[in-house]
Subunit: 83 residues, 2 copies
DNA sequence: CATATTTATACGACTTGGCGTATATTATTA
DNA sequence: TAATAATATACGCCAAGTCGTATAAATATG
């Protein structure tokens, strides 16, 4: 259930899943965070230029938190990038 | 040992702890990531405008990963901000 | 299938990050 | 304490994020 993320893309995927679980649209989340729907779109799309401010505004609105830890075993997506 | 982070500041603190554990200077980490020492300084200082690109470059170089999960009980620092 | 909803993309304007470079400040160590 | 190392800050420059607004594209719903 908890998501592991090592890339902006994976962060975006996790946020999107969470948003949908909460039955919110990007516009809804934008209202909660004072961010544009377009900005939420970029965040969920994994744009690496997105700012931490934007990320944490969304995290707060979605009631999420990070755990930061040393990397565990190789993840599926990492392995795929080898080929 | 694992760090919980809900703000850019907390992320910065965790990265700094990790860097020091690995006996690296900001300059060392900058070399590993092709980022300036000044940029690492900003990241560790919790500047909310820092980009995800920068964060994840550092995460990779420090061999860290995120776990994203619903917020658990109130954390000490959050409680402090109530007063 | 038609319509409504949701999400992605576009434009100009403004703001800010990260760059190279340099220096000031702080912390470490001899 | 003096010298050294590490970190924070500054300046001009360029690239890019976010803004408001709008629309195109994709998805969901009747």
């Amino acid at each position: 259930m908890d998501q592991i993320a090592r890339t902006p893309k994976q962060i975006g995927d996790a946020l999107r899943r969470r948003r949908r679980t909460l039955k919110l649209t990007q516009k809804d989340l934008g209202a909660k965070t004072s961010l544009r729907q377009a900005t939420i779109s970029g965040l969920e799309g994994g744009e690496p230029g997105t700012q931490l401010r934007t990320l944490f505004d969304a995290m707060t609105a979605l009631n999420l938190e990070f755990v930061i830890r040393p990397r565990t075993k190789a993840q599926a997506e990492d392995i795929e990038t080898l080929f």
